[in-house]
Symmetry: C2
């Protein structure tokens, strides 16, 4: 019987696998915007509730499987269809579509769950000898085709057993973990001791420290705490040519920084098994919150730039929604046409140009108060209207919920995806306009943009788009739209990614983006550490497909 | 006639080449401490005022020199003895000793001053073809044997002509420069526009941006502004296999960060010709100053740690002198036995354990006031006695003068050198004690220590030592003492350097420090970018001497 368990659907559904029905506000928006009916929305498009059946056996020999069992223990080596299917993909929209079509092109032959660095080293040595591809995964929340296994082989899953918290060093303000540890496990442990990891990506609940580091992620409070590359002090990396262990110096001038060769290496250079990262004091009662409405996006971004360049201290969460995203939030939350809304409009904060900003500041009470005060002053100077702390608090409370919107939207036949970039301030507005124009050239589309990671020298732009799928051509349609989107970002001076990473999805742009000499250098690093090309093969990062 | 010009002495004297006679306080200290007389001090030891004569011609052929002239212009290619001698060394103590002995082992064959990135590329292509060593230099203030030319060849001097400020981007808060630009030139240009580079190494007046980046330096305000690796956004690097140009994104997730492969590469991987770095608003009138006396070093470092871990904002200058350095300053400045001194002693701030702390905070006025206030509160909690802003201001005013102490001390036959390390908080005190003990095992020595770069997770320790030279065995004596010093740092958990870099001086420790797999990776990067091993050859960073 094809029950709920072991279905394709049970694989691709996000997080806790429970479908949240579309809120009335979202339904209304989608219906109005795309001219859809309730019947259109309730169609269970590409529902994929069949039991997973791969129809192929693992390509590894019994002897090879046996050896893997010897290394990791029989119970930590999985060759069943469901385990292999589950680890064949991340959460890239194209991958979700394919899973919904019940298609799995090239699953790993085996999923292994090593329990120690030593086992990882043994696994790599064996794979190297036998020329078996090895693709490390943690939470598998990659949205860049970073954990696919086009050459099959071993999916080396760190989230199962290599997930101990090894040491919290309260003198140094550091924590040392095995990289399979998941966000909530780490944060709960730290909170109990009065600390926080300060790193809260959208995928926080279902992503691992190793994934954060390997894909060079950022958390929602990164404006204050920094991206993952700013948080990692030391690491262990197991490579086919040996283990590299860096030390937890607060800073050094010992030649160049090898940590920075592995942060963002996306499993192509080695398996990051251990990380020492900064921790901060956990004092939520000190946190200051502020929310503002600005008259337009240009003024709001100007204010953000000034805030980051004025050395008034920095907010931790610093976020602005562009006019469409702002109006979408207002409409879904029932704010539209409320008394407050009418008041705002009367004050000149007009629908279609106004923008919603969220700010939170963590740390010492005096510091959080000062940064909030200074932010309010700057906002006022830019005609930002202060609307209290509650909207920011409310947003923070439900921040992980938005990831659950995708599944019911896809069930309703709506394409929905997010793409992000980083850009210097002087190109931000032109990029925002150009990419928005590109996304909106598609007949039925709803495009929301925000800035959520802010720096002295620029910011990110985060694009969310919804559009009805072209039934029967969902994948080709999406691929073409996505390609044009990345082209538009690239041509307008944005980076290929600010925090999602590159994977295989953005690999085709890498050489043009960074130049052939730079790609050549990356390939040389790869070829040295992974001479047979067994690590996450298949063009990840734009590196040669096979050694 | 051997005049003042063209002497060995004119090469090794620091900065403006004017000797400052030893202040009375320093003379007294040295006399008392080492049992020396005025006659001992006035001996002009290893005075080296002979005219430089190398006695060897450049090993390059006339045709090769001609080709270099074709590339850079005849006036930018120097083969005279003085130019070659001048570019044969940096300011490592052992190098200064050798120059004082009028010994120059292996000068470059030629010094060239390229005017453009294109000329650098042509030079490298030619050198690659002809297998000629190329050693890039800027201000030559290296204290790690980083710019020596053991294989002769080309000293590629960027400070002469490749020193234009290309763009100040006031929107992005960045400046783009050619890397030969010197500190004061850059800072003056920025100050005029209302900005500062925020990077003030001890060598500021005589060091170049390229040197800062290549040797991974830090400025005295780095606690607030960051080390050079935190300031650089983009760069151009000319390598024998092509040019790498990174972009000025505020942050990215485009695989790993290639900037970080070149920051700290010390001329071994390519010639950094252009850098885009952060700038900050220049508002000296906002700067807040504070100075404190603590009862002992342990309490003072505890307070620093708390300040950095409490998220109260951070000071820019944050500095503590250990008891000997504190007492030395008091004695030289005539503070000893003053009314204030007697008052402090009565309050329990005793000679031999008390420590002097300097703090300055830059930025917005509200911010500087807050951080100063919070720092004062924390200091008070740690029994730190506030002594106003003036001592810090006074120190800042004369901060570049201390570099001029070395020449008259060496003239007086006193060995004096500085070595530094970075260390996590939990090893700081034990390292301080152990290394101090090592340095003091030498019969006549005066050892001063400070912390000058502070982080959430640790700090640097900066050791200054004075000791009479062993006449006739100056170099061997120094080398043995220096070797034991680095061993002591290494064995006690300190990094080989926090901001001086590695060069050839610390290269012998690199493999043990970072491990053979890590050195192998570095060598692979080197071998790919510089296949013939022409770039800064001779074991720099612990890389293979020759390709």
């Amino acid at each position: 019987m094809s029950e709920q368990k072991n279905t394709y659907r049970s694989i691709f559904l996000w997080g806790d696998k429970k479908i949240r029905p579309l809120e009335e506000g979202v339904r209304k928006l989608v219906k109005n915007k795309f001219g859809l009916t309730d019947t259109d929305l309730d169609q269970s498009h590409l529902f994929a509730d069949d039991e997973v059946r791969l129809g192929t056996s693992p390509a590894l020999s019994e002897k090879q499987i046996k050896e893997l069992q010897n290394i990791c223990g029989t119970e930590n080596v999985k060759t069943d269809d469901y385990s292999r299917a589950r680890n064949a993909h991340g959460y890239f929209f194209g991958e979700l579509l394919k899973l919904r079509m019940e298609t799995i092109d090239s699953p790993p032959d085996v999923v292994v769950y090593p329990k120690s660095e030593q086992e990882v080293a043994q696994l790599l040595a064996f794979a190297e000898k036998e020329n078996i591809a090895v693709t490390p995964v943690g939470g598998r929340s990659s949205v860049t085709r970073g954990v696919e296994t086009p050459q099959g082989g071993i999916s080396l899953d760190l989230s199962g057993k290599l997930n101990r918290i090894l040491e919290v060093n309260e003198t140094n303000h550091t924590v040392t973990v095995e990289t399979g540890v998941m966000g909530p496990q780490l944060e709960a442990h730290l909170n109990k001791l009065g600390y926080t990891c300060g790193h809260f990506p959208q995928s926080f609940e279902y992503s691992s420290v190793g994934g954060w580091v390997a894909a060079r992620g950022a958390g929602q409070a990164s404006t204050g705490y920094g991206k993952i590359e700013d948080l990692v002090l030391a690491m262990h990396v197991v490579t086919p040519v040996g283990i590299i262990q860096t030390k937890d110096y607060p800073a050094t001038a010992e030649a160049w920084d090898l940590n920075k060769t592995f942060i963002g290496s996306e499993g192509c250079l080695g398996i990051i098994t251990r990380v020492t990262m900064k921790i901060r004091s956990y004092r939520p009662k000190n946190t200051a919150y502020a929310s503002f409405i600005f008259k337009d996006f240009e003024t709001a971004t100007s204010m953000m730039r000034k805030a980051m360049q004025s050395e008034i201290g920095v907010p931790h969460l610093f976020r602005i929604s562009d006019p469409v995203e702002t109006e979408t939030a207002f409409s879904i939350n029932g704010f539209e046409n409320s008394v407050s809304d009418r008041f705002l409009k009367a004050m000149g904060y007009k629908t279609g140009s106004r923008c919603l900003m969220f700010v939170s500041v963590e740390g010492d009470k005096g510091y959080t108060h000062l940064v909030k005060k200074k932010t309010k002053q700057l906002a006022k100077k830019h005609h930002g209207f202060y609307i209290g702390g509650s909207p920011t608090k409310k947003w923070l409370k439900q921040r992980y919920e938005s990831a659950y919107l995708r599944d019911p939207l896809m069930d309703a036949g709506i394409m929905t995806d997010t793409v992000e970039t980083a850009v210097p301030w002087d190109k931000l507005i032109s990029l925002w306009k150009a990419v928005r124009t590109y996304l909106e050239h598609r007949e039925k589309s709803h495009v929301m943009v925000h800035i959520s990671h802010v720096y002295e020298n620029g910011a990110n732009l985060y694009f969310t788009f919804l559009s009805p799928m072209k039934k029967g051509h969902e994948l080709e349609d999406y691929k073409a739209y996505h390609k044009g989107l990345i082209d538009a970002i690239h041509q307008n001076g944005g980076s290929l990614s600010h925090h999602h990473g590159i994977g295989r999805a953005l690999a085709p742009w890498m050489e043009e983006e960074i130049g052939s000499t730079a790609i050549g250098l990356m390939q040389a690093v790869k070829d040295h550490l992974d001479p047979k090309g067994i690590l996450n093969p298949g063009n990840t990062l734009g590196l040669r497909a096979e050694a």
